[in-house]
């Protein structure tokens, strides 16, 4: 009478269950579309075609996905250490300051491939430092990281507003943003990759940060599952008591984990700032940090899952924009409802269908759920 829930084969655990959850989310979303008097099937077609139908759509989807990969990884790194970093939003926002300083200083003198590494370092460093204060307070004073990171989101927002309407704003401008960067701080687009496959792209912001995001996903995997630091983080995340027993110091683990998390959040800012807008504007993060929480949960805190979940949310953003354009009855708010349903079913209600699927698997073949293997025969 150990665990009533049997283990599922990995493909069902990581593939089938998320797909079922997603499917149910779309069915319920379909009813909502029906409620406002539109055809849900047509809406689904528009959404998917808008995201993946044309080259431009794909490029936009991947552009949004890039942002979500960074914030998703940020949340996941902290979560592996048992810390709920709600501050991704603020860490990304304040990192815009680091990027602005690098870009405004060097965009006239250095080529992009020199500005970019400097900006990466600046973004990661500012994001990490912004996470350091809540981390220190948690490790040394026991202040709850959820509360402090939320507060730091507000502080970050206030500082950025002050800077963008004051010191960072060009004197003659009315807009609360920095001056536009010169070519030395504009990142090259990646649209040509999609065009290789024969798709046509009018103009889309997909840029080299996407590749940086994939590299970071790999590095996060390496960190969590292949390094001593990652091992200690996971131990602490699963059981602080076991960490204490193993001689892992709380301070020496919380602070680096949160700084890495903050650094990843900071790198998110590179994508919209250097890859798309070429300036730092007010509210350029616009909720991506919070979407990162959903992405991390849906991706089961695993980098591969996070990349896939980020693409899904990229699709919802891009396809949703098309949908709002094509179907006037469906407003932007409706898109938020659909996104909310995906989060609800794939995140909060993740385990709803699990027992039924397990029972199904068990009735077909007990061995596939590993029951014979785990029945230890004593000794």
């Amino acid at each position: 009478m150990s665990t009533p829930y049997a283990k599922l084969p990995a493909w069902a655990d990581y593939g089938l269950i998320p797909l079922i959850n997603l499917f149910v989310a779309f069915v319920v979303a379909g009813f909502v579309v029906l409620l406002v008097g539109e055809n849900p099937l047509r809406a689904a077609v528009i959404l998917v075609e808008g995201a993946f139908g044309k080259g431009t759509g794909i490029a936009f989807t991947l552009f949004y996905a890039t942002t979500f990969i960074f914030t998703g990884l940020s949340v996941a790194v902290a979560a592996h250490c048992g810390l709920f970093n709600i501050g991704t939003e603020g860490q990304a926002y304040i990192a815009g300051l680091g990027i602005a300083i690098v870009c405004l200083s060097f965009d006239s003198t250095l080529p992009w491939w020199l500005t970019f590494p400097l900006a990466i370092i600046a973004a990661a460093a500012v994001g990490a430092l912004w996470a350091l204060i809540p981390a220190y307070l948690q490790a040394k004073r026991g202040s709850h990281i959820v509360i402090t990171t939320i507060m730091f989101n507000f502080i970050a927002a206030s500082i950025m507003v002050y800077l963008l309407v004051g010191p960072l704003k060009p004197a003659a401008s009315q807009a609360p943003q920095t001056r536009n960067f010169l070519a030395g701080a504009e990142l090259p687009k990646l649209n040509w990759i999609i065009e290789l496959f024969g798709a046509k792209i009018r103009s889309a912001p997909l840029n080299v940060t996407f590749l940086l995001a994939l590299v970071m996903a790999f590095l996060v995997w390496l960190l969590i599952w292949r390094t001593k630091l990652g091992y200690e983080m996971r131990t602490y995340g699963h059981s602080p008591k076991a960490a204490r027993y193993a001689g892992i110091s709380e301070t020496r683990i919380i602070i680096p984990a949160m700084m890495i998390s903050g650094g990843l959040a900071g790198m998110m800012a590179l994508n919209p700032v250097m890859g798309d807008q070429h300036n730092v504007a007010i509210d350029f993060v616009s909720g991506a940090g919070f979407v990162g929480i959903a992405v991390a949960l849906m991706g089961r805190l695993h980098p591969v899952g996070i990349v896939l979940a980020a693409i899904l949310f990229g699709m919802l953003y891009q396809g949703g924009a098309e949908l709002a354009f094509e179907m006037p009855a469906i407003s932007r708010d409706m898109i938020v409802i659909i996104q909310g349903l995906v989060i609800l079913f794939a995140g909060a209600l993740e385990h709803m269908f699990r027992p039924y699927i397990q029972a199904l698997f068990a009735s077909f073949s007990p061995r596939s759920v590993g029951m014979e293997a785990v029945k230890g025969k004593g000794a």
Binding site: P4, K7, Y231, R234, Y245, A373
Partner: protein, 510 residues
């Protein structure tokens, strides 16, 4: 045997693919004490949970008093006169005895009437069965033995004719257990039926009329207690012959390895849990600490292993001091040759969500053997894990399996293998065989004795008096944070039991 109080016919129950109960047939005679024994995971608790309405059988029939019964919820069971006393008490700590007894069985919307009614009923029950408890005492202020009595009263108050007790003596001193058995005897004399679930065979022999043995979900035998032996029952439980008593030679104790002087430890609430304790452990001996759970043993272990900071006192390891009141760290102590098998393997000794091989380096993950720069040396870790799986016969033999999927005995072996294979000078072990099946107990005891014979100093803390007596070369008894006596392994259970109950300690204080 008179008419059957309960008949279970062809009960089957599966959890996913695990068949917890297979085709169980059981008849429990009215007015008898019936024991059910079996290893952990044999399906005893599942069977009783079906009888009490927590689970429903997939197939099979339950008859109570000869009538087919449908038991879907505990309320159905209570209505049929079945009461259950759980291993972990289901009491509201800050309520009085009376309030706990009527909880869920209030006879009126206003408490005043219910309480008055319950009070007279409770007095009658107490008189009838010798279950004296002050009805106005607050639960958390009562010793566990009395709390258990409240659980029994609760069941009787609800009109239980059949009483199921799940591992009732786990938290009791020997004296309290004896008292419980007298109460059960009285209940039987009054015509009640008692079902006793336990893994302690001596209790079965002492008190039951009939005994049923379960193994891997099936009912392997039912015997009249008078016509069976402990050895036969143990063999039926495990399916092979087991050694109940560890064989060991004389200890060849050497020099002092660990010296504890005037150690005082407080818990997180600031209550003194370890009070000015001093003792030595020498190389080549096993020192056992006996005591009822909660008398400071846990805090003592945590302090010596560096997990919990001590308030005062000193500890010398190999003649060199450890700063337990300041900067001592479990990692540093490990480096100095002090290995620790913690009491709580689920939350402290292991990370259940980890793969087996990841747990095999917990605490030793700083070892250069397992590292390549900042990276883990996965090959080295898994090779070591595989070696230990073979050496300690850990099953299933799969170092990539999640630790949660191993049985209790195998989990404990994972911890023991990790700590013993470091070749420590001092090994401290908390509850070496808690939640471990009989077969693995034998193996673990042999390993501990082997450590001793290699000249290691071993400290064992256990609430199982039998274990302490069979393993230890010297026995220290803890009561209320102090060591109240030291005895040799020849000490009788009665003698140790008195010490554990603090009897001598109280006399000394007078």
């Amino acid at each position: 045997m008179a008419q059957a109080a309960i008949e279970l016919i062809g009960i089957n129950k599966s959890f996913g693919a695990v068949r917890a109960n297979r085709d169980i047939n059981l008849e429990i005679g009215r007015g008898t004490i019936h024991g059910i024994v079996g290893e952990n995971g044999a399906g005893k608790s599942t069977l009783m949970s079906i009888l009490y309405g927590f689970y429903q059988a997939d197939s099979g029939e339950i008859r109570v008093g000869g009538q087919p019964a449908s038991i879907k919820t505990p309320n159905d069971a209570i209505a049929l006169g079945i009461g259950m006393v759980h291993q972990h008490f289901m009491l509201v700590d800050n309520f009085t005895v009376l309030e706990n007894v009527i909880l869920g069985a209030e006879s009126d919307a206003l408490l005043k009437k219910s309480i008055a009614k319950a009070r007279s009923e409770l007095e009658r029950l107490e008189r009838e069965y010798g279950l004296e408890v002050d009805p106005d005492a607050i639960i958390e202020e009562l010793p566990v033995g009395l709390q258990q009595r409240v659980e029994i009263l609760k069941a009787l108050y609800r009109g239980a004719e059949i009483l199921i007790l799940d591992e009732p003596t786990g938290v009791l001193t020997p004296a309290e257990a004896d008292h419980l058995f007298r109460i059960l005897g009285q209940l039987k004399d009054q015509g009640k039926t008692v079902v006793l679930i336990t893994h302690k065979l001596r209790e079965i022999m002492a008190i039951t009329d009939t005994v049923s043995v379960m193994r891997q979900g099936t009912m392997v035998a039912t015997r009249e207690t008078a016509k069976t032996t402990v050895e036969e029952l143990a063999e039926l439980m495990v399916g092979r012959r087991v050694l109940l008593r560890v064989e060991k030679g004389e200890a060849a104790a050497g020099g002092v390895k660990l010296a504890v002087k005037n150690l005082t430890v407080k818990d997180t609430r600031g209550v003194t849990m370890v009070d000015d304790i001093s003792f030595d452990i020498r190389a080549g001996e096993i020192v056992g600490i006996a005591g009822v759970a909660g008398n400071g043993q846990s805090e003592l272990l945590e302090a010596i292993s560096g997990i919990r900071r001590a308030v005062s006192g000193s500890v010398m390891l190999d003649g060199k001091p450890i700063d337990l009141t300041g900067a001592a760290d479990p990692g540093e102590l490990r480096d100095r040759g002090l290995a620790h098998v913690p009491e709580d393997r689920h939350h402290v000794g292991l990370v259940l969500a980890f793969e087996e091989n990841e747990n095999s380096i917990l605490g030793y993950h700083d070892d250069p053997r397992y590292l390549r720069g900042p990276f883990l040396n996965i090959d080295a870790i898994r090779n070591d894990a595989r070696d230990r799986i073979a050496k300690y016969d850990i099953r299933p033999a799969d170092c990539r399996l999640k630790t949660a999927n191993f049985s209790g005995g195998n989990q404990q072996k994972i911890v023991l293998a990790r700590e013993m294979e470091q070749d420590p000078g001092v090994l401290i072990v908390g509850q070496p065989t808690r939640g471990v099946d009989v077969g693995a107990i034998e193996f673990i005891h042999k390993r501990l004795i082997a450590m001793r014979d290699q000249g290691k100093a071993v400290l064992v803390v256990s609430v199982e008096l039998d274990e302490i007596r069979s393993l230890s070369d010297r026995i220290l008894v803890m009561f209320a944070g102090r060591i109240v006596g030291e005895r040799g392994p020849e000490a009788t259970e009665g003698e140790l039991g008195l010490l554990m109950a603090g009897i001598e300690h109280q006399e000394a204080a007078l």
